[in-house]
Amino acid sequence: MNAPGEFYQRDRDLHPPAFAPGYKSSVTRSPRCALLSLQGSASEITGPVFGHGDLDPGDNDLLSNYAKPGESPIGERIILHGRVLDENQRPVPKTMVEVWQANAGGRYRHKKDTYLAPIDPNFGGCGRTLTDDDGAYFFRTVKPGVYPWRNFGNNWRPAHIHISVFGSGFAQRLITQCYFEGDPFIALCPIVQTIPDPEAIVQLTAKLDHKATIPLDTVAYKFDVVLRGRRSTLFENRLEGN
């Protein structure tokens, strides 16, 4: 059997460019020199390994992980679930998935967020979990609200959940945002529109998963995350040089 090799080259045509002037904060935070492309060495193809000792079983339930006993946050109760896959459509098992989000009113529990919508005393707004052997993950939370931000003066972020995923190698490290189908603010958002490929935006939009809803309880949305895949080292020397 051939050992897996380095990761496929990242398709920069589907990722936002560093300099995307419609999103003003990128203007002074974007490198202007070209990125230097590296072949994958051990430094890139390896990455941190996590286990169940790193988290607690309830960390993926945002309805309860910050709520007072017997209480729960205000908002539309949702399940966000899906799989972490690679570009070869293989599941990425046992990888850490972390999320953070605003509450149902569009307010983050963060000292720098001064939006006038109130903090929800029963909502923290972050969660984490490990994917199972099939790459599957799930969270229970409330659907986040839209919120305003300055940029052009009257911009609103579509409802979104930030998602951070590791994969098996540091080269796969990815942070993205999950949007919700039907949200009219997706098309109006300068941050979403940094993404040059319309299909890539569709891929970041969670779909209602009616079959996975819990009747009389919780709506479900499905969202898969795709990380870079790895080549097989067909006729190539091994990384360590045999």
Binding site: C33, L35, S43, K111, C126, L174, I175, T194, A200, S232
Partner: protein, 206 residues
Amino acid sequence: MAQSRLYIKESASQTAGPYVHIGLAPGAAGFDIYRRELGWDIAGPNARGERIRVEGRVLDGMGAATKDVLLEVWQANADGHYAHPEGGGPVEDGFRGWGRVITDFDTGAWGFDTVKPGPTPGRDGRLQAPHLNLWLVARGINIGLNTRLYFDDEAERNTADPVLNLIEWEDRRSTLIATRTMRDGTPLYHFDIRLQGDRETVFFDI
């Protein structure tokens, strides 16, 4: 094993935004929710090698210190092994080699304690000089930025390093080299990251 030809596309990156702290470093941001915060202990108690501290700032294109960046580090142990099944060999019990820190909300300073890594195998069998792999995300950064930190007391190995030698402009290589001093008996490496402009740090597409 035959490679599947039914490829799908990687999910597009989006900025981590200004509130990344509540998701990835809630404790460091003063938000007490998890029993166990990830990434604060990089080397663990049993790691061999030299204990070091690394500090710096992340400067934007105006030369101002950014105050909302999250950095992650991924490194080998003193033997040059990564804590991973393909990491080249065993590591000490408790050695993770991974950590995350945030820039201070007021000063923009970041820093972490670890051990100095050993040389690691490069792509073509040539040894890579000791280095830390760094990844930065923040508001205004649309896709995480990868860079490396090398050590200025490793001049000989740095000169032979296959990655540093890929950098066409020799004076840009120095943007990846941290400078060593001593503080209270502990080696302190200083490393500023410049996102843009004069002496822009070399970033990698890994």
